[in-house]
Symmetry: C2
Subunit: 480 residues, 2 copies
């Protein structure tokens, strides 16, 4: 128990040191552009670095075996600890946020949610902008490692389906993990570079291209402009964004398996449904938005872009899509639940869970008609252990329960119904924009009270860790 | 297959004839009060009676065994067939509704939902008012028979938990059913009479007392006044209503078991939670509504009354409870999901399903921490087959899926977000009032387009039949 905590703290301190070092990037950027605020970013790096260095030294030599208990403690320590400890650039730096607002913005970055309390992004200093993008970019690698290595090992919400190997013996996990993390980093960096190049070629400035590439690949959605991607007049920019968001919403296992040249690559049903849902939603939106008139090239690019942005839980906006007919609000609200594929940086329930739910309903109906029949559960062509299916269903139910409770808390804090429910949902699903006048895609979270910002920050991390990993903290048996 | 359909049609025709005969009650009431519209009600009785008499004769002698397939067909035939065939009093009678509006109002009555398209209830003719109450009262007996006899036999959504006997051999079902239905009718009539007496003693007119007693015991919620129960100034009226709605929200198995003097009565956990949820919601509402000021006797009675009204899916309103602070809307929205106890006339997900969900989450978390541990599922003190728990979870997931699809359809028809989502929910859960300016407790469904009324009528029946029984119609294996 004690060793579990110490080891988790040690691993977290290494990540904390990496992020402290990363604060030197906004320092350098500021020096290169205006030179007005580099001391503040430098001081942030120093303070954060010292804090984690002390902890790293205090926990040096801690060692433990990789048990489920350790996995749960480690993952919680990483997301809660890092979020709270790296707020300095937003508090001490030129953004000068309050502690609550900085925790909100940092959680939104690190969980790749993309909601923001900042306005006037177009005139904000480059250091702050690049720090927000870096938070999402690092958060993206974090969640990929989590989703591909730790969570499947824990069978959280049915993620066992997506283990890269069938063995679950703990002594093999850590060395394999190193190879996978290496592959993730190489692929992630490569895709980010390709995306930045794509954006640049469609007319973005180099600074905007790099920032948006980082927040595209992490399905984060922070932008350097108040009007988000709607700022860029070239429709080709939206198409580049659509392609790379879609790539980022696919299971990273695909890319990793290609990279490590595994031969046994199977077509994952969630990939098929991912594209089917995009096609269906765009079709609905075409009818809802354009009705009788035919779509223009620009409106079509916006439709596709916004659907992919919400489905992959990126959360960029190109135009106020919630104002496109009465269907668009509920349509985007529904897409917010869905999320991308398991094993990607996307949040939400994830598409394979929807497939699993549909399969279970189908089998239930067959059993209703033929109570003595036996109907195996399948995912793709494989027969799946019902335990894995159940875990999916239970996670979805927990999601609904946490959503209801968060909505009630936000409402009790004085937020209106649409703000409360869409705010809780967009945070839990790590999407970004909510619905309505207060937190819709045409607005920001700036007007919310500090207490609501903290509730939403908690929701983001709870959602990012697939609910169950956080709920496990409340089980007595974890602490025995 | 053919025999299943014919037999189901024959049983339905008997119920149809009973309802045709029941149309003689508004005929008689109208004769006794104004005498202006008795011919229209009489004509409705005649036409409806003739229609079902022909079908009864055509299907005479049909016989089948009680299989799951027959159960599914029978239940669908009863609710869809009766709803569509008994609209005459609202179309031909003084209410003069359009076909769509009459189907909506009849579905709302027969499913004990309680949403209405009528305004000016205070000046409406007595015949129409009593017919609406009768629809709910008959709908209440229908759902009790369904919930206590047919659905548990089918294991719909985990209702197998609530079988009165452990045997499921089909040859024993029908004779037992007769005894249970007799018990249900006697208890139901007795409670209705007691409720009417209670209302009368608190100052209601005899007519109002009888009408409201019928719509209280069926947790239906139709009123004879536009301001619903807010019309009655005596707080004692609200307390009487609260008591009888709560009784109606309890499992009828309790009363039936007492009546048939079964000895093996166990305390059902859902009953405990039923009262705990009422207490919790009232406490939240006291804070949300009255804040720093202390509640008056009237406001306390309204708080308790509205919470029980929504939780039991009755849907009476005493005051515009959605205007009581920002928490009240989301609170009542959440309560709308819950519903009363299984085996009652209440709709919604039902409290035992929430208990089951919570248990499954708890066991999942234990398994997360101890992957090789074995943690049995219990309901109360009994160990329960996981199959039953799964069925609950699957039904809840289907509920969410149907809710999402209905919301999208309503939004596509031009309804705003809050109207679409709360309208779909209140219909599926058989509650009555929605949220917002259009269909909130201070308003009616009158302003919705016909197409939306039909969608909502379908939702009411789908919800009333616990979703799965209707979805089963779409399975090829049912029709083979």
């Amino acid at each position: 128990m004690g060793q579990d905590l110490r080891t988790a703290l040690h691993v977290t301190s290494v990540v904390g040191l990496v992020l402290a070092a990363a604060m030197l990037i906004p320092t350098a950027v500021d020096l290169g552009v205006t030179g007005e605020h580099w001391q503040e970013f430098g001081l942030s790096a120093l303070l954060t670095g010292l804090f984690w260095l002390l902890i790293a030294m205090a926990t040096y030599g801690a060692k433990t075996t990789f048990t489920p208990r350790f996995g749960i403690i480690l993952v919680n320590m990483l997301w809660w600890g890092i979020t709270v400890s790296v707020i300095a650039p937003l508090v001490l730096g030129p953004a000068q946020l309050s502690i609550a607002a900085a925790i909100f913005e940092t959680a939104s970055g690190f969980t790749t949610t993309g909601s923001t309390v900042l306005t006037g992004l177009d005139h904000l200093d480059s250091g702050t902008l690049v720090w927000r993008s870096l938070l999402q970019w690092f958060g993206g690698t974090g969640i990929l490692s989590l989703g591909l290595i730790v969570l499947p090992f824990l069978n959280v919400g049915g993620l066992q389906l997506f283990r890269l190997e069938s063995s679950d013996r703990s002594e093999k996990v850590l060395p394999r993990a190193a190879a996978i993390i290496r592959a993730i980093v190489v692929i992630y960096v490569g895709l980010t570079a390709a995306c930045a190049l794509g954006y640049r070629l469609t007319g973005m400035s180099p600074f905007d291209a790099i920032n948006h590439a980082m927040t595209t690949l992490s399905t984060g959605g922070f932008s350097t402009h108040d009007s988000s991607m709607g700022f860029f007049p070239n429709s080709a920019t939206l198409w580049v964004g659509s392609v790379f968001m879609a790539l980022a919403g696919l299971p990273f296992t695909l890319f990793v398996a290609l990279f490590l040249s595994r031969k046994n690559l199977k077509l994952d049903p969630q990939v098929v449904w991912f594209f089917a849902i995009i096609a269906g939603a765009v079709a609905l939106l075409l009818v809802a938005r354009d009705g009788a008139t035919s779509p223009t090239p620009r409106s079509l690019s916006e439709d596709v872009f916004n659907v992919i942005s919400i489905l992959t839980t990126t959360g960029y906006a190109a135009g106020d899509y919630t104002a496109w007919g009465s269907l668009s609000g509920p349509l985007f609200f529904t897409l917010t639940f869905f999320g991308g594929c398991a094993g990607s940086t996307a949040g939400g329930l994830k598409i394979y869970r929807l497939i699993v739910l549909a399969k279970m309903v189908n089998v239930s109906l067959k059993e209703l008609i033929h109570p003595h029949g036996v109907f195996p559960l399948r995912y793709g062509r494989e027969r799946i252990d019902p335990v894995i299916f159940n875990a999916s269903l239970v996670m979805s139910a927990s999601f609904a329960g946490v959503l209801a409770m968060s909505t009630l808390v936000l409402a009790a804090q004085g937020n209106d119904f649409v703000t409360a429910v869409s705010g809780a949902l967009t945070a839990l699903a790590n999407v970004g924009p909510g619905l309505g006048d207060v937190i819709g895609p045409a607005s920001t979270f700036q007007s919310l009270p500090d207490a609501s910002l903290l509730v939403l920050a908690i929701c983001m991390i709870v959602g990012r860790l697939e609910i169950m990993v956080v709920l496990a903290l409340f089980m007595r048996s974890l602490w025995r």
